[in-house]
């Protein structure tokens, strides 16, 4: 872990020193699913004093759908990031991500007392909302942060009713988990 952070520091510090508009957020964290570890790396371009946009990649462990076992799910996403009191040493950050969860679905069926259902497709739509606290360490804006984010995987679910065919339906469903992460902004 220590070496990973050092490597990221060496790799990204020169880039970010060139222009404070560009930054990289790298973090590791745990989800509420058996406290298994994961992480994310997000590139951010500062649009205004408090708003930035970018893209990122993450891997976290959670239950992507109602029929899947918990598993590591990689995701690519676009990121919108807001910073309050951006010029101060301590600030709060919030972010909104949209993207693509990549997984191969388990071919299992879900049953309840009147129906059976399954997930027809691999992959899902990724969406997360996070809040965090940032502490500036370097002059060019680098520093440590901690975040708490709610991650949702949106997917299609087909349900067939035993009760009557008119209750058969295709649903947009979401499976969620929470990740607590610590990271460094380069």
């Amino acid at each position: 872990m220590k070496y990973t952070l050092i490597a990221l520091l060496i790799a990204f510090t020169p880039l970010c020193a060139l222009a404070q508009k560009h930054s990289i957020y790298a973090d590791v964290g745990i989800t509420n699913v058996r406290l298994l570890p994961g992480g994310s790396v997000t590139y951010n371009y500062k649009l205004t004093g408090f708003l930035g946009a970018g893209a990122g990649f993450q891997v976290h462990n959670f239950f992507p759908t109602i029929t899947d076992e918990h598993k590591y799910v990689p995701a690519l996403y676009a990121d919108l990031r807001f910073t309050t009191w951006a010029k101060r040493k301590n600030s709060f950050i919030s972010f909104l991500d949209f993207g693509w969860d990549m997984y191969k679905k388990d071919n299992e069926y879900y049953r309840d007392s009147t129906s059976v259902g399954f997930v027809p497709h691999n992959n899902g739509f990724y969406n997360s909302l996070g809040l965090g606290y940032f502490h500036k360490v370097t002059k060019n804006g680098g520093g440590a942060y901690v975040t708490l984010k709610l991650m949702l995987n949106w997917y299609n679910y087909r349900e067939y009713s035993i009760l009557a065919e008119e209750y058969d339906r295709s649903l947009l469903a979401a499976s969620g988990s929470i990740a607590l992460s610590i990271g460094y902004k380069f």
């Binding site: 069926y109 049953r111 309840d112 007392s113 009147t114 129906s115 059976v116 399954f118 067939y160 009713s161 035993i162 009760l163 009557a164 065919e165 209750y167 058969d168």
Partner: protein
């Protein structure tokens, strides 16, 4: 000739694109105040309290698969085809059969009949019937601990039964599983007997020869088990299992 080739190609293409086989209802059946939609498959005749064909078809697929898996374990020889009643309103069944409030299904093993709520574990009630008729020989003696235990042990659910039993035991005082086995009045709470019995019967399956295990299924009291395993060996098996559970 070339038109025939094209036609065959089209037929083959569409044949490959055909979706999963959808079983059509084979009829209906009136009993217990319900008109049941019936689907007869190779292993089980299903009776659905409902008319959703696709849902019932998938449901029967899952149970046919489960049945095939369990046949490999129990080698059942049933006197008649298993009849599986799937209730979408199990409250109604509870009223008719005077089933306990907490139950989600029950088996009339001798008659090869199950009545279930649609969402209970795939294997549980099937095992009651298939274990009853294992090798074509019905049990001579009965113990609720063994009977429910084997149904939980092979319910085809993917969970750690020892961990489940340990979790449940945090809420109950128990010195040894013998207390559950020796319960002629069937007074043990269901919250305790299912998980602990399931873990025990899974453990015994691992520790026994096939002959021993299936003799135990036919002779279920603790006195019977002493004859099957020998008193000392049974004591050791129980002691080891109690230790696993932290008793």
């Amino acid at each position: 000739m070339r038109y025939i080739v094209v036609l065959i190609a089209i037929v083959i293409t569409f044949a490959q694109c055909k979706p999963d086989i959808e079983m059509q209802p084979t009829g209906s059946y009136d009993t217990l105040g319900v008109t049941w939609m019936t689907i007869e498959r190779s292993n089980i005749i299903y009776y659905f309290q409902g008319t959703g064909v696709k849902g019932a078809s998938i449901y029967s697929d899952l149970h046919e698969e489960a049945y095939e898996d369990l046949v490999g374990i129990f080698n059942p020889v049933l006197p008649q085809k298993l009849r599986y009643f799937v209730w979408t309103d199990f409250e109604q069944a509870k009223g008719i059969f005077n089933a306990p409030e907490w139950s989600g299904g029950f088996a009339l093993s001798k008659q090869c009949v199950c009545h279930v709520r649609a969402d209970i574990s795939l294997g549980h009630e099937l095992v009651h019937v298939l274990a009853f008729w294992a090798d074509g020989i019905a049990p001579y003696t009965y113990s609720r601990f063994i009977n429910e235990g084997v149904a939980v042990a092979f319910d085809l659910e993917d969970h750690d039964r020892i961990e489940w039993a340990k979790e449940v035991l945090k809420d109950f005082k128990l010195n040894s599983i013998k207390e559950l086995w020796n319960d002629p009045q069937d007074l043990t709470p269901h919250e305790l007997i299912y998980p602990v019995g399931g873990a025990f019967m899974e453990y015994m399956y691992q520790q026994s020869s096939r002959d021993e295990y299936f003799t135990l299924l036919r002779n279920q009291t603790i006195t019977d088990a002493e004859l099957i395993y020998g008193k000392d060996r049974l004591e050791e098996l129980i002691r080891n299992f109690d230790n696993q559970l932290g008793l």
